[in-house]
Symmetry: C2
Subunit: 242 residues, 2 copies
């Protein structure tokens, strides 16, 4: 089945967690808002979101169309894709655990985003710079260590593998963890460099994922949008460690 992914065309954002899963799965998909032509582009995305005939309207992108089904919310899209593409364990317990990790990653993503938008998404960064500095400092010194320390420990405790978070094989949660670490390194290069030695298992996992053939090809392709200052992870030097 050909999937249609709907997400903003100029940022990695939340859509990237879905793109990575689709790429690793070798799935057939079209990134609708990044294409032009009939039924493509941002206009098509907005039209679908607002269409009265869509009973299951998503609150925001990303959303994925699979035949008649429209699935929204990043973690929910991955919950849907996981079992279909061997990116989640087979048991109910394993699937719940993978999803739980994904939701914890989602919480972490919100906090990473809010470092540059602590007052709200309806204001420019320039209008909340002072607040952003305070929030980013707390994020770097308290929240990053809390989240990364947690995931490092989960890897250490996984009885079936030290190379993935859940069970003995790669899951969508591993791909998402790779993405958030890549984003943090982009946004806070100094803070992340200084703490790197504390998270050896996370570093090894990131490397493993980056080296997977499909992911490596994807990262080197034009389909991978570079990090930039419109997305979740923004490099504002004044928010990083001095």
């Amino acid at each position: 089945m050909k999937y249609h992914l709907y997400y903003w065309p100029s940022i990695q954002g939340r859509g990237e967690f879905v793109r990575l899963a689709l790429e690793e799965a070798g799935a057939d998909y079209v990134d609708v808002a990044r294409q032009s032509g009939k039924g493509m582009g941002v206009t098509a995305m907005m039209k679908l979101m607002d269409a009265k005939r869509v009973h299951h309207a998503p609150f925001a992108p990303p959303f994925l169309q699979a035949g008649r089904l429209i699935v929204g919310q990043t973690a929910n899209i991955l919950l849907f894709l996981g079992p279909r593409h061997d990116l989640a364990p087979k048991s109910e317990e394993g699937r719940l655990w993978t999803h739980q990790l994904q939701l914890t990653i989602a919480d972490f993503v919100v906090e990473a985003h809010d470092t540059h938008h602590p007052i709200g998404v309806d204001f420019y960064y320039e209008d909340q710079k002072a607040e952003a500095r305070r929030r980013a400092e707390d994020f770097r010194t308290a929240r990053i260590p809390k989240f990364l320390g947690y995931f490092e420990q989960i890897l250490a405790r996984n009885p079936r593998s030290q190379h993935c978070l859940a069970g003995s094989k790669l899951t969508y949660a591993d791909l998402s963890l790779f993405q958030i670490i890549a984003g943090l390194k982009y946004a806070f290069p100094r803070a992340m460099a200084r703490s790197a030695r504390r998270y050896k298992r996370l570093a090894a996992l990131s490397q493993l994922i980056q080296d997977r053939p499909r992911i490596a090809r994807y990262l080197a392709s034009e389909r991978r949008i570079p990090f930039n200052e419109e997305g979740i992870f923004r490099h504002y030097p004044e928010l990083d460690e001095t």
Copy 2:
């Protein structure tokens, strides 16, 4: 099966979304941190979270123990409970849709919380009052209408019922929507009173839920912790509309 719910004992917080589902289901559960005695209390909760033998350690409360299984993350706990207690549709499509709505409610909850903690959970409210005022204003004027307008529209578009969000029967997402509306009314009474007429379907849904026999009994019981200024929804008059 007797469930063990682990959550902070003095607030509704995120645990309340789980409590409401357990109560509506008439499930047998113990609210561990609110009990005293052997294996009970906050100490027992912290001990379980930190226990090395727990491979699937939750990042934070709430988490639910069901036999050998430990499930964390509010929305994930509801994903687990839904099909077991007839609080989710039977079809995969229906379950994904219910979960998608729950995750949108979870996003809304984070934003409601951040009105009083825009700089971070590691600082007191008193140390971020000015920032809280700005964030709360944006939340009241832009975000509440966006989220409530969305859910009102979802109710209007549901082809199978106008009294619930997903399918033709009550789901855990309806219970959670009731809870967030109750919380917003507590935290922002003036803003919510002024906008009430715009959300007729949401008001009707809230009333229906509040009147369900098990929920009504629960709300009147001592098991329902009153809203207070330690939880997600806090009534700080300076953050409400003037």
